[in-house]
């Protein structure tokens, strides 16, 4: 049975003569390098930023990257796999506390704290995901919400380890080869490096056959089952990966911020990150980073000037965004790339030209999912 089910029909040989004539193959091949150009340009600009802006702005950008990375990890769950978690900050928190403790009691040398944080995020997701991923709909929302709350409660209660409501403070900052990174610019470059590596990993995963399967599960789980996939396994692996990536973001945060407290694992972070996903366009991976940039800049940079009205401003931005950009910032790019390609109502606002099903955070879209 080495060659099963290979129909060699007369029909197969008659028209079009082989796969090289298939339209679309040429186009997609030519496009990949072209699409790398803007990505490289952005990377160069990001790398040069510390030369042109002040230390405060550099620090804000580091925050944008750290929380942006967290948004990317949530997007893997929400936008790609279709699991709208309300408690993803739990894994960010686990990573942050872990990295804080590692930096304090073991070594602040890069990349140890971040790697251990990734492992801790993954382990936490392995333990909790097994139950969470089996649940559906409202139960999924409730369970993830509970996990976020339980995690920040634990951080509060286990004060011998976590420092209770004070949290961990005075965490040693990043070190490379024993040298502490004292300048904002150096810290920023380290954060940028971790961000780029992690983002690339998530990107690769989302483009891989595994990522395609995740999208299939997002769109129609039953159908995937009939194709021989076990959705639970895929969702579980995605959940654990997302937990590990959130752990990395948390690990960066701990050594960058040098203070971690229970609210860093709480619902507020999950909520503003979901907001960033809606703003940026779920499923595109890069859109949520932009969304997070807006959130962080409003909250942390202009926040002090707004005298406590930061959340109000965010709320207004959110409402406007939902009206003006139904698929977020990424929807704008998706719109351009898809124009002239084809006209399906579903695709028109997709955040990712390669994934016309992307764009909506599950549960926030009024559009019906394909059945």
């Amino acid at each position: 049975m080495s060659a099963p089910a290979r129909p060699t029909t007369p029909a197969a040989t008659a028209p079009a003569g082989g796969s090289s004539a298939v339209p679309g193959s040429r186009r997609s091949r030519g496009r990949a390098p072209l699409r790398a150009v803007p990505a490289l340009a952005v990377l160069v600009v990001l790398a040069l930023v510390p030369y042109f802006v002040g230390p405060d702005e550099t620090d804000i950008l580091s925050r944008v990257l750290i929380f942006g990375l967290f948004a990317v990890s949530l997007d893997l769950l929400v936008g790609i796999t279709g699991l709208p978690s309300l408690g993803h900050a739990a894994y960010f928190g686990v990573g942050a506390y872990t990295a804080g403790l590692v930096a304090e009691h073991w070594t602040p040398n890069a990349p140890v704290p971040v790697l251990v944080a990734a492992g801790a995020g993954a382990v936490a997701a392995v333990l909790t995901g097994w139950l969470v991923v089996r649940s559906d709909g409202v139960f999924f929302l409730m369970l993830t919400l509970a996990i976020g709350e339980i995690t920040s409660q634990l951080a509060l209660q286990l004060d011998d380890v976590t420092g209770g409501s004070d949290g961990l403070f005075g965490i040693p900052t990043f070190r490379i080869g024993g040298e502490p990174l004292r300048l904002e610019g150096y810290r920023y470059w380290y954060v940028l490096a971790v961000f780029v590596i992690t983002f690339a990993a998530v990107w690769l995963i989302s483009r891989s056959p595994f990522g395609l399967a995740l999208r299939g599960i997002r769109d129609n789980e039953d159908r995937m089952r009939s194709l021989g996939y076990s959705p639970f396994r895929y969702k579980y692996v995605a959940y654990v990966l997302a937990g590990a990536f959130a752990g990395i973001a948390g690990g960066l945060f701990a050594q960058f911020n040098r203070i971690v407290n229970p609210s860093d694992a709480g619902f507020a972070l999950s909520a503003i990150t979901l907001l960033a996903l809606v703003l940026g366009g779920a499923g595109s991976l890069w859109g949520p980073v932009i969304g997070m940039a807006v959130v962080v800049v409003v909250r942390d940079y202009y926040g002090p000037d707004l005298g406590g009205h930061g959340p109000l401003v965010l709320g207004i931005v959110f409402v406007i965004a939902v009206y003006v950009l139904p698929r977020g910032f990424a929807g704008l790019a998706g719109l351009g790339a898809l124009r002239g390609r084809r006209r399906g109502a579903v695709s028109a606002h997709a955040t990712d030209p390669d994934d016309p099903g992307s764009g909506a955070v599950p549960g926030t879209s009024s559009e019906e999912r394909p059945a």
Binding site: T9, P15, S25, R225, G357
Partner: protein, 271 residues
């Protein structure tokens, strides 16, 4: 005697008081081209779901190639080589045509579903394109499914089912809504399948049924009425009575299937 590829024993499915499938015994030998026919509501689609495992049996057993699969889930059965097209289209509407096939093809043993290296994914894509050529959709491979016509979607369903490299292929009204040219092409494609693929087809278009099937099972009100060669089925008075009992003027007539078999035509078959 060889083990039947598919063997049903006393398979029953109840919906409340309704026995949609009622004690069906059926053996399909390997390599068979088997048709399952019966009036609307006979339980054909339900029977398929019991075989694929998308719905559990109320009682009875399903065996594939001699091993009992009644307790296995749908995904496990699919991995053992059961593949299907559904009566109601079930495609990834927001993905391209090619990706719909890739989704199935990459799950197969040679399919690199865990590969992170794009180059290795090429084999799967090539395989998907071959299948699209086979069903006549090669020019649409980059289109979104939501932009396909009804007939094209049916063709794509067949390509997806074949991409699963099935041992047992269940097709639920694959030709419904196809143009005559499209269904002719489908018959050609199915006829050319190697006999490592066992085919069970539900179809109201009897031209398709009699062009393909070497054996036919008639289902009526959930019960197996008769299994036999196409000629025996055409000749059977029991079959005709069952259909006449439904009060229809013509047999097998489906609302969306123009080519129903009417009584006079089946009587011609007898004489």
């Amino acid at each position: 005697m060889t083990t039947p590829l598919l063997e049903l024993r006393g398979v029953t499915r109840q919906f409340g008081a309704l026995r949609a499938v009622d004690g069906v015994d059926l053996q399909v030998p390997p390599g068979a081209r088997h048709a399952l026919i019966g009036p609307n509501g006979a339980g054909k689609s339900t029977l398929f779901k019991l075989v694929t495992g998308s719905m559990p049996v109320t009682s009875g057993t399903v065996a594939l190639d001699g091993s009992d699969i009644t307790k296995l889930g749908e995904a496990q059965r699919a991995r053992r080589g059961i593949s299907q097209t559904l009566q109601h289209s079930s495609l990834f509407l927001s993905q391209t045509v090619e990706r719909n096939v890739v989704m199935a093809a990459q799950r197969q043993p040679g399919g690199n579903r865990h590969s992170l290296v794009p180059r290795r994914q090429k084999a799967t894509r090539d395989r998907a394109r071959e299948l699209l050529v086979d069903v006549g959709l090669e020019r649409r491979s980059g289109a979104l499914v939501s932009a396909l016509s009804h007939g094209e979607r049916r063709q794509l369903e067949v390509a997806v089912a074949l991409a699963c490299e099935p041992r047992l292929l269940l097709l639920d009204e694959p030709a419904a809504g196809m143009s005559p040219a499209e269904s002719g092409r489908l018959v050609g494609l199915l006829k050319a399948l190697p006999d490592t693929v066992t085919l069970v087809i539900v179809e109201h278009d009897l031209d398709v049924v009699f062009a393909l099937a070497t054996s036919v099972t008639v289902l009526h009100l959930g019960k197996l009425l008769l299994t036999g060669s196409p000629d025996e089925v055409r000749a059977s008075t029991a079959v005709q009575e069952a259909y006449l009992g439904t009060g229809r003027e013509s047999l097998f007539l489906d609302t969306d299937g123009p080519a129903g078999l009417d009584v006079s035509r089946s009587e011609q078959g007898v004489s």
